[in-house]
């Protein structure tokens, strides 16, 4: 990041003081939600709701106080300095607020209000006026028409998202505010943590490339997930994404796959190079991974944020169920991963451990047989990971009466700590009774999926097969 952008991002993500303009008393209003997000940490309790520890001001000329905060009639009435503002008032009043903010020497404005370029020509004019006034006052703008910005590690929730997710290592940059909001709720249940969530809105000023730059320098962020419908400045995006992806993986879900109908395409090239295909080419050239669905986006983000990458294609599959082992091996072969035959010396080591069942598979997939207890998993996982010719691993666990999901998970966590340079992905199949093991894996950032197809999909990416 340039020092200028770094200063802007600092003011955005951890302002010393922030004012909510349009801090309404109505609990159903956007402005009320934003203020509550800052004052309480969230609107609905999530277990990660901690009040923001910067100074929070409420601006509302019609109220005395809201949520225990004294209301100021306007920005100008606030005695101290204001670094950041969140604007949640009707669009037509926003230019006026920008003028006041300029006088107040505000650095950044998150404009939540809708009713700008997304509405057409009139709205676009209004947006241009806002940007012009902001620029004249030296204010950088996020939005308009955004959900807001959440930075869980800073306990910063300047949004009308229903709650705050746990802090974590995934950044989410979204052109859809509503999608981001739903992801927050879903992440709570799936126990995903975020380093920040930025909804981009109309990108009148700050755009996806600026947040990619921030993600690159942000120490909490390990992977960046994006939902994009289109970028305005393709060259800037390509250049930034290329730079960022060398250090931090970027995964994009692109909306707008289908072409607008009715347009006659005159050339062959035109029909082969539609807008979506061009985006995919750009992603590829920028080293950006492409996701196919929302779930896929976060499956990949989770794996890329927590697991090392390898150039090697040799995968070992360990399972206590033959069928799932076969499926996993099929998917691996289709993905271009090599289910490498186990060498004689590896089999000897397994035998020597004294933990193998007489009927174990003696091959890859390594079927430990259904009655495998954690000690058998432990011998198998560690023996195979210790072999230099094995580059990655999928650990499958099906549930039998004696299966100890919790301990099996601990075995995997420990082995991954011993061999941190080899990606490990788990398929702990089940639901209610596999939950303790699954929770342990999640807690230690070992990706786990309920379907081997998903596990193979992420391992394919971790193994640099695109």
């Amino acid at each position: 990041m340039t020092p200028e952008l770094a200063a802007v991002m600092k003011a955005l993500t951890q302002p010393k003081s922030i004012a909510v303009v349009g801090a309404s008393r109505d609990p159903r209003s956007v402005g009320h939600g934003v203020l509550k997000g800052l004052v309480h940490g969230c609107v609905f309790e999530s277990g990660s709701c901690i009040p923001y520890n910067g100074i929070v001001y409420a601006v509302n000329p019609k109220a005395k106080d809201v949520l225990g905060k004294k209301c100021f009639g306007s920005l100008k009435d606030i005695p101290g300095s204001v670094e950041s503002i969140v604007v949640a008032i009707p669009a037509k009043f926003v230019p006026q607020i920008m003028e006041e903010a300029a006088i107040k020497k505000v650095k950044v404005a998150i404009i939540v209000s809708a009713g700008f370029a997304e509405l057409g020509v009139e709205g676009k004019k209004l947006q241009e006026e806002v940007v012009k006034k902001a620029k004249a006052g030296g204010i950088r703008v996020l939005g308009p028409n955004v959900l807001g910005l959440l930075v869980p590690p800073n306990n910063f929730n300047a949004s009308f998202a229903l709650t705050t997710p746990e802090p974590g290592n995934i950044a989410f940059i979204s052109q859809s505010g509503a999608l981001a909001d739903s992801v927050v709720d879903w992440a709570l249940q799936a126990r995903y943590g975020f380093s920040f969530l930025a909804s981009l809105g109309n990108t009148a000023d700050l755009d996806e490339s600026d947040f990619l730059e921030y993600g690159l320098d942000d120490r909490k962020t390990k992977a960046i997930a994006m939902y994009l419908e289109g970028v305005k400045n393709g060259k800037k995006f390509l250049k930034t994404a290329k730079k960022v992806s060398q250090t931090k993986p970027i995964i994009v879900l692109k909306g707008g796959k289908t072409e607008r109908g009715g347009q006659a395409i005159a050339s062959h090239t035109g029909s082969l190079a539609g807008s979506y295909a061009v985006y995919q080419a750009a992603f590829r050239q920028a080293g950006v991974f492409s996701a196919e669905s929302v779930e896929d986006l976060f499956d990949l983000a989770k794996a890329l944020a927590s697991q090392p990458r390898t150039q090697g294609k040799n995968v070992a599959i360990i399972t206590n169920g033959g069928g799932v082992g076969v499926l996993t091996a099929d998917y691996c072969a289709e993905a271009g991963l090599n289910v490498v035959p186990l060498k004689q010396k590896t089999l000897e080591k397994l035998e020597k451990s004294g933990k193998m069942h007489a009927a174990y598979s003696h091959n890859n997939p390594l079927d430990l047989v259904g009655d495998a207890l954690p000690d058998r998993y432990e011998a198998a996982v560690n023996t195979l990971l210790s072999e230099p010719y094995i580059h990655s691993m999928i650990v499958v666990q099906t549930l039998q009466t004696m299966t100890d999901s919790q301990k099996d998970a601990e075995v995997v966590v420990k082995a991954h700590q011993t061999y941190p340079n080899k990606p490990v992905v788990c398929v702990f199949m089940g639901g209610k009774y596999s939950a303790p093991g699954v929770a342990t894996l999640r807690k230690h950032d070992i990706p786990d999926y309920n379907d081997p197809l998903k596990a193979v999909k992420v391992l394919k990416v971790l193994s640099s097969i695109i």
């Binding site: 970028v231 062959h268 090239t269 082969l272 190079a273 985006y279 080419a281 050239q285």
Partner: protein, 212 residues
């Protein structure tokens, strides 16, 4: 304003970028066609020149496997009948080349700028849709990755007795990329088919849309 490049403009452009084209001669009428044909090895291909026609083969406006003057006269008559309602600006007679058919094309994307397309070409190009794309500029290493991404790469090691030199094709695509990147007037470009046989890579049909 956009408009289609003329045959002469295309010829000059290909020459400037040293992009090889199938041997061909343009003529305005049958006597001149017959005269021109004497310089070309058989078999021949006869096509019309018209800005109205994109999918010429579909409309019966391309005749293949013409071996002598008599067949040329017959092909000429057939094409004229099929071309009713289409403005004919002239005719092209080409030496017919056989080989693997590719498409090399380009366009200006509103977001990312110049985009290069390579894929399996010919008549079924839009049905097969076996192609890869790159945003320009790109280097030769990236061109090779691009070529290997599609099923077209099967021909680099030989498929059904047909072999295409990867080096020659990469060099050809590189030239096309170079042209597309440097000629700012080009809005759209179709080399389809590009006929490839061993080390010989030739444009058999070119279509360019200028932005004037």
């Amino acid at each position: 304003m956009t408009r289609l490049a003329t045959e002469e403009e295309i010829e000059a452009l290909l020459k400037r970028y040293r992009i090889p084209h199938v041997n061909e001669v343009c003529a305005k009428d049958l006597p001149r066609l017959l005269n021109a044909s004497r310089k070309l090895p058989t078999p021949w291909v006869l096509k019309i020149i018209s800005r109205d026609a994109t999918h010429k083969t579909d409309k019966g406006l391309v005749k293949l496997n013409i071996h002598n003057e008599n067949e040329l006269k017959k092909a000429f008559a057939t094409i004229q009948k099929k071309a009713k309602g289409i403005r004919i600006e002239g005719y092209v007679i080409q030496e017919q080349k056989n080989g693997v058919e590719f498409i090399v094309g380009g366009k200006v994307d509103p977001v990312f700028g110049n985009v290069l397309v390579f894929g399996l070409g010919g008549l079924f190009v839009e049905l097969i849709k076996e192609r890869s794309l790159r945003i320009l500029p790109i280097d030769e290493k990236e061109v090779r990755t691009m070529l290997r991404e599609t099923k077209a790469s099967a021909f680099f090691t030989g498929y059904r007795n047909q072999w295409v030199s990867e080096d020659a094709l990469a060099a050809f695509v590189m030239k096309a990329a170079h042209m597309l990147y440097h000629e700012e007037r080009i809005m759209e470009l179709d080399f389809n088919p590009v006929i490839a046989r061993e080390r010989e890579i030739l444009v058999a049909d070119a279509r360019i849309v200028w932005n004037d």
